[in-house]
């Protein structure tokens, strides 16, 4: 084939145009790209996946104090939710095939936990991530050692009540005996360190209450427990319980929630696997002996630390201390009435 060695004028023009088009396209992409697009805030794409599919991606984020971070979140599988622990932000739902967006600013350095707020699967509780906030500012105040550590309590030990009432105690029926109740029983420190059953036994030994019946003393215990909370706290506790605890412990506390015995999807031996479910069942809050034998500090510790040989996750970095005490107060409400 006889071909000319020098490209024609048309050929040169065609090459120039095509090269210009391709280079122009690539340049346009680069200029408009994520890094160079002028934005007042940093954009982070966060993908939500069920823990067995990998959980959050990325699982940890690093931001500066005062930096406005714009999260563009999407789900790879089912509906998830996003919230930052110990923060009053409204949870944001995350749907597959869509972007949910939220802007955050952290003013205090420290570690923040973000977590899924939707029951996305049996391992929902494991769906956590960390936001490390660095830079200037007063560091986040630590909640300090939880009361069970300060008191040296073994929160894994069984705690059956030494005594249980014949009927559920009612705080409102204890009004007549209040005048005889020593003030020491009303302190938060006492409340946290003693179970209702221990308190009843202590009250039984009080000379001022010698004439009170067993039932009246239980009503007095109920009154002490109610005195350490408020209707608002109970409402908060009820809401937190419904959103976070009922899936395993059941709506009525019977330990029979929808995920109580759910094997981890894909777990081969169904003996708990990733979820931990199936090793020990969730605590049955309807069991009066367990509940009246539990010190508030023990319940607080269990919520903070999780574990106990069950699938119970740790909630310490998610709930504020006030929220945990509200939850503890609500748990007693299964047996202690107004």
């Amino acid at each position: 084939m006889n071909v000319t060695a020098t490209p024609s004028r048309h050929e040169k023009l065609a090459r120039l145009l095509l090269l210009g088009l391709v280079v122009g396209l690539i340049t346009a992409i680069a200029l408009l790209g994520r890094g160079l697009l002028p934005r007042p805030e940093r954009v982070i794409e966060l993908r939500a996946r069920m823990p067995e599919n990998g959980g959050w991606l990325p699982e940890s984020l690093t931001v500066e104090t005062g930096e406005q971070v714009h999260l563009r979140m999407t789900s790879d599988d089912v509906v998830h939710g996003f919230a930052v622990g110990q923060n009053d932000m409204d949870p944001v739902d995350i749907y597959p095939g869509r972007f949910s967006e939220v802007s955050l600013v952290f003013n205090q350095p420290g570690k923040y936990t973000f977590y899924c707020t939707r029951w996305c699967g049996a391992n929902h509780w494991r769906m956590r991530g960390v936001i490390e906030v660095t830079g200037q500012g007063e560091p986040r105040r630590s909640a300090g050692q939880p009361p069970y550590v300060v008191l040296g309590l073994d929160i894994d030990a069984p705690h059956p009540a030494e005594v249980i009432p014949a009927q559920e105690p009612r705080a409102s029926q204890a009004l007549e005996l209040l005048a005889d109740l020593p003030r020491s029983y009303l302190s938060p420190a006492y409340y946290q360190a003693h179970s209702p059953a221990e308190t009843w036994l202590a009250l039984r030994g009080e000379p001022a209450l010698m004439d009170a019946s067993d039932e009246e003393l239980w009503d007095l215990v109920a009154w002490i427990w109610r005195a350490n909370t408020t209707p608002e706290q109970l409402q908060t506790g009820e809401q937190l319980y419904a959103e976070n605890c009922a899936a395993c412990h059941g709506e009525t506390g019977g330990g029979d929630g929808v995920f109580a015995n759910a094997p981890a999807p894909g777990a081969e031996d169904h003996s708990g696997g990733l979820t931990g479910h199936g090793i020990l069942p969730p605590t049955n809050f309807q069991d009066i002996s367990t509940m009246l034998g539990a010190k508030p500090a023990v319940l607080h510790g269990k919520i903070v630390r999780g574990g106990m040989g069950t699938g119970m996750p740790y909630w310490g970095p998610v709930f504020t201390d006030e929220e945990i005490w509200a939850l503890v107060a609500y748990l007693y409400a299964f047996h202690i009435e107004e």
Binding site: V3, T4, L18
Partner: protein
């Protein structure tokens, strides 16, 4: 009806159209636009958001391009898409050393494609492999990006080692079925008079013409598809690149309109690899309709969990259904038809049985095309509203180039789609039935009834159509 008696409309008799076809600039412009789309799709797939519905790669390639290909390009233009496909372009430009006509020394070894591989079996294999992973490929932008990029580099590599467009002819998984279904299209490029070709010593349509003096100043390459246009009887391997229009010094090439499906009854060039392509396409349409559109979560999960035990089960079932069960049942139908029609002697040898099988498989082309059109209709209008956001924000990075980034999803023509699908499937069934009857008549004396030989094949087509109607419309 013989080919000579068919009514045809020569399009190249319109001078302006012929000029547009011969000039390289309009084609180059279309190719450049396609290349920009391709680069954008590959880049968005590789670097864009993993959210398929917000990524240009997924929406543009698997919804818009696929729908255009199946609903318009293939049925009406045959291999028209191949003439502007961007994938082989960079390789071809390197091979030619030019974007336009022959202008310089190109790169590459120019080796002939191995004889043993001169079939579409590799294309069949490529399509089946892609089909097995389709559930993830169709939804994961990064994988789509990797596949598009891989296609580009394989095409470049093939062009640098082998002569002509070997990638398109023998490797491209998409090109295989476009070629098969292009037989049904109403557009063909043929020679006006084969005697002229026979008398033309230089055969510049095949060897190329770099001498502007020979052809009114026009030059061109020898058929990039390795086809001698003088022998063209079917669309299957004609890429409609228009090179032969540019290189023929006798103005003997014509682009013309013809009745739909004219190639189906061309007995020459029927092959087992093409017959199998028809089964692969039909089987894939059935499996996709069941897996991707059906309500069976377990099957869907199995198709998505690539590498898992359920996925291997899905893959095995896909392969067994497409490559064994469908062909076996069809083979049985063909044999029953031949025996019933008293043509036992016509299927006495293995070769005769194979020929009968290959011949009747031609009837599956209109059925398969209808199946793919119906399947594509099920998602194209439902997902069309994803187009504005991905044009405004192709990478899903939060851009809003045209102000459409937040255009909400809304399905279109939901009431009309089932009717359209049913109509297309019924037309495909009727067309395939008519084709089967005419194919049955091919080895019978003129005027002899062919109904008995065709009926089992029609029954096969009926069951396939019924299944598709059930899966797609419910």
């Amino acid at each position: 009806m013989s080919e000579q008696s068919q009514v045809k409309l020569e399009l190249t008799r319109f001078k302006w159209l012929k000029m547009l076809l011969i000039s390289r600039w309009p084609q180059l412009a279309l190719r450049a636009i396609a290349l920009v789309g391709f680069i954008l799709a590959a880049a968005a797939g590789l670097a864009g958001t993993p959210v398929g519905s917000r990524n240009f790669a997924i929406i543009f390639v698997w919804i818009i391009w696929w729908a255009l290909l199946m609903l318009a390009a293939v049925p009406f233009f045959g291999r028209g898409w191949c003439s502007i496909c961007p994938i082989p372009m960079p390789g071809e430009w390197l091979q030619n050393g030019a974007l336009l006509g022959p202008a310089g020394k190109g790169l590459g070894l120019g080796k002939a494609w191995p004889k043993k591989l001169r079939s579409i079996w590799l294309q069949n294999l490529g399509f089946v492999l892609l089909a097995l992973f389709s559930a993830v490929v169709l939804t994961q932008p990064q994988l789509t990006g990797v596949i598009l990029t891989a296609f580009l580099f394989i095409a470049i590599g093939t062009s640098l080692v082998f002569e002509r467009r070997a990638f398109c002819r023998y490797l491209c998984p998409v090109g295989g079925f476009i070629g098969l279904y292009s037989q049904t299209s109403p557009l063909e490029l043929r020679v006006r008079d084969t005697a002229v070709c026979a008398g033309h010593r230089e055969k510049t349509c095949y060897t190329g013409n770099s001498d502007p003096q020979q052809n009114d100043g026009y030059t061109g390459y020898g058929c990039p598809w390795g086809v001698f246009p003088g022998g063209l009887v079917k669309n299957t391997n004609c890429g409609l690149c228009m090179e032969c229009l540019r290189t023929c010094p006798h103005d003997n090439l014509v682009l013309q309109l013809r009745p739909f499906g004219a190639d189906l009854h061309e007995a020459r060039g029927r092959k087992l690899d093409e017959a199998y392509k028809a089964f692969i396409m039909l089987g894939a349409a059935l499996v996709y309709s069941l897996v991707l559109l059906g309500p069976w979560g377990m099957v869907k999960m199995a198709a998505f969990q690539v590498g898992s035990l359920p996925w291997f089960g899905y893959a095995a079932a896909f392969l067994a259904f497409t490559l064994a069960l469908l062909p076996a049942v069809f083979f049985g139908a063909v044999m029953v038809g031949q025996v019933w029609a008293g043509s036992r002697r016509a299927i006495a040898t293995a070769n005769q049985r194979r020929q009968a099988f290959v011949r009747f498989a031609v009837a599956l082309s209109p059925l398969g095309l209808a199946a793919w059109i119906a399947f594509s209709l099920s998602f194209v209008f439902a997902n069309l509203s994803y187009l504005p956001p991905i044009l405004s924000d192709p990478f899903g990075w939060g851009w809003d180039l045209f102000g459409w980034a937040n255009f909400g999803w809304q399905p279109y023509l939901t009431n009309l789609t089932p009717t359209l699908q049913a109509s297309v499937l019924l037309v495909g069934f009727a067309w395939a039935g008519r084709a089967a009857y005419r194919l049955a008549a091919e080895d019978r004396p003129p005027g002899a009834p062919a109904g008995k030989a065709a009926l089992p094949v029609v029954l096969f087509n009926f069951l396939v159509t019924l299944t598709l109607l059930g899966l797609l419309i419910g």
